[in-house]
């Protein structure tokens, strides 16, 4: 389960880091809250489909708002992200505290996720619970999409102008990427919670970006990172008796720190070996 979540997030996270919009993931994960709340209020059920749709709509709406705010005013993207997600999140919290107070829609669960509370009652498929199957399918689809549209994503991430001249629509690619991101975030959301999703998105990509300069190597490395961190995370969770999701993130952070210090070409050690004067290295 942890593996599927981290793999799906890691794959798409690469593009976020490359496009310097990592925090959009954070924004989406917070913004889905009102969508979930509205879906819950309208249908009264806590089951998958309505919530998923609500969350998806809210997530995509958030990316559209961010885009509008920062392309149509003098605000920079960071401020646009901050305003959008906090507003949507506030709406969500208010909706839940007005309507959900007497029900079992728990803010704790929404925010921090319950990977270890996998519902046992759900239909079981090949020995795996339903949520895990969904997430696995999601990871597979994301992988497939990325393989299919590898060139388009690559070109439009690095050089939107070139992409446009090649007949790829950069805006279209952007919104498609954002919708896929919303799906992944919403899928990961129930298991890891709103805040930790961002770690699953960024950490693998950031780590592998320290180790490699080619996109496909980066993607493979980020998969490896996802695999290792979920493995180590689950063990850590059992050993320390803490929830799985934060434990995975802690493990992932550990891997990142190792890469940061010991990366062959960009690590702190090699930086220091090349230039033993730390002040100079930092200023450079």
């Amino acid at each position: 389960m942890a593996l599927f979540v981290t793999v799906a997030c890691a794959l798409i996270g690469n593009y976020l880091v490359l496009r310097r919009i990592s925090l959009v993931g954070d924004a989406i994960s917070h913004s889905v809250l009102p969508g979930i709340a509205i879906a819950f209020i309208m249908t009264g059920s806590r089951t998958g489909t309505p919530m998923f749709i609500g969350a998806l709509v809210a997530g995509v709406a958030a990316t559209v708002f961010i885009e509008i705010l920062h392309s149509r005013s003098r605000l920079k993207q960071d401020a646009a992200i901050g305003i959008t997600f906090s507003t949507l999140f506030a709406i969500g919290v208010i909706l839940i505290s007005i309507h959900g107070a007497h029900t079992d829609l728990d803010l704790d669960c929404v925010l921090f996720g319950k990977m270890d509370f996998l519902p046992v009652k759900e239909p079981v498929f090949l020995g795996l619970p339903g949520v895990a199957v969904t997430m696995g399918a999601l990871a597979f689809c994301v992988g497939l999409l990325i393989i299919l549209f590898y060139k388009e994503l690559l070109v439009s991430s690095f050089d939107p102008a070139l992409a446009a001249s090649m007949g790829i629509h950069p805006r279209l690619v952007h919104y498609l990427l954002m919708s896929v991101l919303s799906v992944v975030v919403v899928g990961a959301f129930t298991s890891v919670g709103a805040i930790l999703v961002i770690a699953m998105l960024i950490l693998p990509a950031a780590t592998s970006c320290l180790l490699s300069e080619r996109l496909w190597v980066m993607m493979l490395l980020s998969l490896l990172h996802a695999f290792l961190s979920s493995l180590a995370g689950v063990h850590l969770a059992v050993a320390l008796q803490v929830p799985t999701a934060p434990a995975c993130v802690v493990a992932g952070t550990g891997l990142f720190v190792i890469a940061w210090i010991a990366s062959p070409r960009q690590g702190l050690i090699s930086l220091w070996l090349r230039n033993p004067d730390p002040e100079g290295a930092m200023e450079a």
Partner: protein
């Protein structure tokens, strides 16, 4: 300067004169909304006075600090810091094994400061960009904090950790008098810091390299600023919660950024907007029973932002749309006058413009339908530029309309000549450019061009350039 420091002092005084047995907002039970409104505005409840004073104060402080982070394009640092404080909160709790505010405050501030330093370190030593660095710090610190919290709970201290939940969502109602006094202290110090260090902060905010070259200790100022930021965030956390504190930093400052252009105005406006949204938040959560304060504050700030986004005098969407429409209408009016003028010039009508131009011919020239033409002409008539000749399907230029038309044609032809003579354009390429610029040339510019071209008589196409208005 004076008024700026008076406000917090007044609020501080308000806090001090609150009676000791202050009730908390949450404990007030009152169902009639009007009664509630009255009580709100008369500040009848000591608990309300506390909460309101606290909220107003950090609304102001967040506005001030937020202005700097918004212009430095690091708006989301507040988000990162507010999440990064969690391990500090847990450590502070561990250290005292109780919800001792001082230990938690120190721990949280230290963790927040460390978080922002790590963000900088990652950015400086790797090729990872700011956004990813923020995300990494945010999530990893938060995860560590969550694990530590759970481990604390596992040791059996769970019963005493309940107050920690307000760190996540925030509630002004949980503020007690000691908290508000702490907030006041922090805010007063912050405001004084911003006033005292305004120059260096401004310089660093806009041009780091320049600041460094003038010998300012940029690093130290960064650290100092981040210390204050972390401190304010930690203090604000109790009232608005982890997630929304960044909104209070960004949104008022961004609103101010849309409204004004100078930094010291921005600080002012942001502080006022921060206070106003805090007021709105406290008011809304006071009206409804048991509603969280933080989200309402954020919604207040966001609605103010939306207003500014749409109606800001210079940068508002709606304002800009209106002025765009006015400009386009003006261009189309002037083009119509120009067409009439040129038809008069071609000899289709009499030279002085008194004799009418056939509307059929005009519609053909402008390539519009009769209905559209009549609509446009009606608009021009209300402006007093044209008049209809009754019963003949003709239109004449009035005195002022004629002058306006001649000015546009004159601009057009002078510009064409300028482009061919001075900028070496081919004479068959100058029309389109002149077509655009004719509406926007100022009197002085035209006079200057005319002087430079030595008062020409004809344009590159051999058509006469109308003389200057003798008005």
């Amino acid at each position: 300067m004076n008024a700026r420091s008076i406000t917090p002092v007044l609020l501080f005084w308000l806090v001090l004169c609150v009676d000791a047995e202050a009730a908390r907002i949450g404990e007030i039970t009152e169902n009639d909304p009007w009664e509630q409104v009255r009580r709100f505005f008369t500040l009848a409840d000591p608990g309300l006075r506390l909460g309101l004073a606290g909220a107003l104060l950090f609304g102001a402080a967040c506005g001030l600090l937020g202005s700097f982070i918004v212009v430095r394009k690091m708006a989301l640092i507040g988000d990162a810091i507010s999440h990064a404080v969690l391990p500090g909160v847990a450590l502070g709790f561990l250290w005292s094994m109780d919800k001792d505010p001082l230990a938690i405050l120190v721990g949280a501030t230290a963790a927040g400061l460390m978080g922002s330093l790590v963000v900088e370190l990652i950015q400086r030593t790797t090729k990872i960009k700011q956004d990813a660095a923020l995300g990494i710090v945010l999530a990893s610190f938060f995860a560590v904090g969550l694990c530590m919290m759970r481990m604390i709970q596992n040791t059996g201290a769970a019963s005493r950790i309940t107050g920690l939940k307000s760190y996540l969502f925030g509630d002004v109602a949980v503020l007690n008098r000691q908290d508000v006094v702490t907030i006041t202290g922090v805010v007063v110090v912050t405001i004084f810091m911003v006033i005292l260090l305004y120059r260096p902060l401004l310089t660093i905010g806009f041009d780091r390299e320049f600041a460094r070259s003038t010998g300012l200790p940029v690093r130290w100022f960064d650290c100092l600023f981040q210390l204050f930021l972390a401190f304010s965030i930690v203090v604000a956390l109790q009232a608005v919660g982890v997630v929304l504190v960044s909104a209070l930093l960004i949104t008022p400052a961004a609103t101010a950024y849309l409204l004004v252009n100078r930094m010291h105005h921005m600080l002012w406006v942001a502080a006022v907007i921060g206070m106003f949204s805090a007021l709105l938040g406290v008011f809304c959560s006071f009206l409804g029973s048991n509603l969280p304060t933080g989200p309402f504050m954020v919604l207040g700030a966001s609605s103010l932002f939306l207003l500014a986004y749409l109606f800001a005098p210079r940068h508002g969407r709606f304002t800009r749309w209106m002025s765009y429409r006015a400009r386009r209408r003006n261009v189309s009016n002037e083009n119509m006058l120009k067409s009439i003028y040129r038809m008069i010039e071609k000899g289709i009508a009499g030279q002085d413009g008194r004799v009418g131009v056939s509307m059929d011919l005009l519609a053909g020239e402008r390539q519009v339908t009769m209905a559209e033409l009549v609509g446009d002409l009606r608009r021009l008539r209300t402006l007093g530029a044209v008049d209809f000749v009754d019963g003949e399907g003709q239109v004449v230029l009035t005195e002022s309309g004629f002058k306006q038309a001649r000015r546009v044609v004159r601009n057009h032809r002078l510009w064409e000549l300028y482009l061919t003579n001075e900028a070496d354009y081919a004479s068959n390429h100058v029309h389109d450019d002149a077509e655009k610029i004719e509406h926007f040339l100022s009197e002085e510019k035209v006079a200057e061009i005319e002087r430079q071209l030595d008062f020409p008589e004809v344009d590159p196409h051999g058509q006469p350039i109308p003389g200057r208005d003798r008005a």
